[in-house]
């Protein structure tokens, strides 16, 4: 094993030396996916044998970027794409029309999990959350495939939350602005900086956290808030399968990439994650809760996210319709 690793290492060094390694980000510049990709890209080149030059490029909509990775990107080990789990896996899981890619065909290099989402609520809206005789609490949303949207729907079903989605914001940044303006009352975020900033201002509360977070110890978890009302059966499965929430930002090679190149990139990815320089930058830009996940485990999470039973898919579709959320299709 050691000898073959050395052979791979030497061959990889020769292969990558002097070359350009491109990280294609399946989103616009400045968002969570883009920021994650840039932070990783900044340090990754130092850990790939041969130290290639790493460049970052943006490629717009998740699904079209995923289609391109599947069909057009050369499997030469020099291009990797970065996706948000929710935006790229949700449409596949729901068997949406127009999806022409299969993430299970890709070489999954690894992922960065920025930390579970925390639901942020304006304090003055708290009493409206449980009182359906009052105007609903408005929740800002971008793509409605994200775990925070799933939490909101679960809150509506299990806890009787009085909520209304306002969707179509172009980015999370626009949702934060809308919150500042009073246009939305609630949103979800995994970014520690954002959560801290709003909570510190005094008129905002961290309502609950998806799971326990060491950097926000005082925030109750979803399960704690649900308590005895925690659903079982299809509703819970639908929540868990909503937007492939177990996968945050993941890095993938195109189909038919060479196994040795995947191995090299997986090893260098994890070496990058373990480096002190990256750890500091990630804490600054992605939040203290940012956690790396290796390629094999990321692949298994994607696999679990995509194999959703038909009855669960039907439940998700019904819930999306109930809350006025889009199904991603070209027809009615």
């Amino acid at each position: 094993m050691a000898a073959s690793s050395a052979a791979t290492g030497a061959a990889a060094q020769d292969y990558y030396k002097g070359k350009v390694f491109t990280v294609v980000v399946a989103s616009k510049a400045g968002g969570g996916t883009d920021t994650t990709a840039r932070v990783v890209a900044r340090y990754w080149g130092d850990h790939i044998p041969g130290k290639p030059k790493v460049v970052v490029r943006n490629k717009g909509v998740q699904v079209s970027a995923a289609n391109e990775l599947q069909h057009s990107t050369r499997p030469d080990g020099l291009t990797v794409a970065v996706f948000a789990g929710a935006g790229s896996l949700g449409p596949v899981a729901r068997k949406a029309k127009g999806v022409r890619y299969n993430p299970l065909d890709w070489g999954i290099v690894g992922s960065v999990d920025r930390g579970p989402s925390i639901m942020i609520l304006r304090k003055s809206a708290h009493e409206r959350l449980y009182d359906k005789s009052k105007p609903p609490v408005t929740i800002g949303s971008v793509s409605t495939d994200r775990e925070q949207d799933a939490i909101a729907v679960l809150g509506g079903e299990a806890l009787g939350w009085n909520i209304k989605f306002v969707l179509g914001y172009p980015s999370s940044n626009q949702i934060y602005l809308a919150y500042e303006r009073g246009e939305v009352d609630m949103f979800g975020s995994g970014t520690a900086d954002i959560i801290e900033r709003f909570v510190k201002e005094g008129h905002t509360m961290a309502l609950l956290s998806e799971v326990a977070r060491p950097d926000f110890k005082n925030v109750p978890t979803l399960e704690a808030v649900l308590g005895a009302k925690k659903p079982t059966g299809l509703l819970w499965k639908a929540y868990r399968s909503w937007g492939a929430g177990a996968v945050d930002k993941y890095f993938a090679l195109p189909p038919k990439s060479k196994p040795e190149q995947l191995k090299t990139l997986r090893e260098s990815f994890m070496a990058t994650m373990r480096s002190p320089a990256f750890a500091k930058a990630a804490a600054d830009q992605l939040g203290e809760g940012a956690t790396p996940v290796n390629g094999q485990e990321t692949y298994e999470r994607i696999e679990a996210a995509l194999h959703i039973p038909d009855d669960v898919i039907a439940t998700i579709r019904t819930l999306r319709q109930k809350y006025g959320l889009p199904q991603i299709t070209s027809k009615k």
């Binding site: 350009v20 491109t22 460049v55 490029r57 027809k331 009615k332």
Partner: protein, 166 residues
């Protein structure tokens, strides 16, 4: 008849058909997606129809077509036949360039276009080669070296790669 089937009227008719096609397509979508297309499509179709009627009732030539004040004059040339031929020839060059892009790749197609166009229209070899070198140098320096652009593979490139592998 030729006045009715003039290029001007045909273009207005094309615009009208675009709006009608959009209305038909949008009628299959949920209201949330279709409302703006339906509202604007009806307005646009109505306006295009109005323009068509105005033009049919009062045929105009290019010279007396009312123009927005900022639009620079249309193709000006002393010899009308030269104008039409030159227009078609220029479009042929453009179409040829675009057709060549997937065949030989964008960098090669552009460089060849610059050389051939300049030579074909009176440029001597020195200026033609200088321009070609300028464009090639710009593509290489900026797009390849600095921006590290990922050039899509061309048909010819794929063919050569296959031959080399054999």
């Amino acid at each position: 008849m030729s006045a009715i089937l003039s290029g001007r009227n045909l273009f207005t008719l094309f615009i009208l058909l675009v709006f009608l096609g959009a209305l038909v397509t949008a009628s299959e979508w949920p209201l949330r997606a279709s409302i703006i297309v339906l509202v604007l499509g009806v307005c646009g179709a109505g306006l295009a129809l109005a323009q068509l009627i105005v033009d049919l009732r009062k045929p105009r030539t290019d010279k007396d077509t009312p123009r927005p004040t900022y639009e620079t004059p249309s193709i000006e040339t002393e010899d009308p036949s030269l104008g039409a031929r030159a227009t078609w020839e220029t479009w042929a060059w453009l179409v040829g360039l675009v057709v060549m892009v997937p065949i030989v790749g964008l960098p090669v197609a552009l460089t060849a276009f610059v050389l051939l166009y300049c030579r074909a229209h009176g440029g001597g070899w020195p200026i033609s080669l200088l321009l070609t070198a300028l464009v090639a140098g710009f593509i290489y320096g900026v797009y390849v070296q600095i921006m590290h652009v990922y050039w899509p593979s061309s048909w010819l490139g794929g063919l050569l790669e296959g031959i080399i592998e054999i």
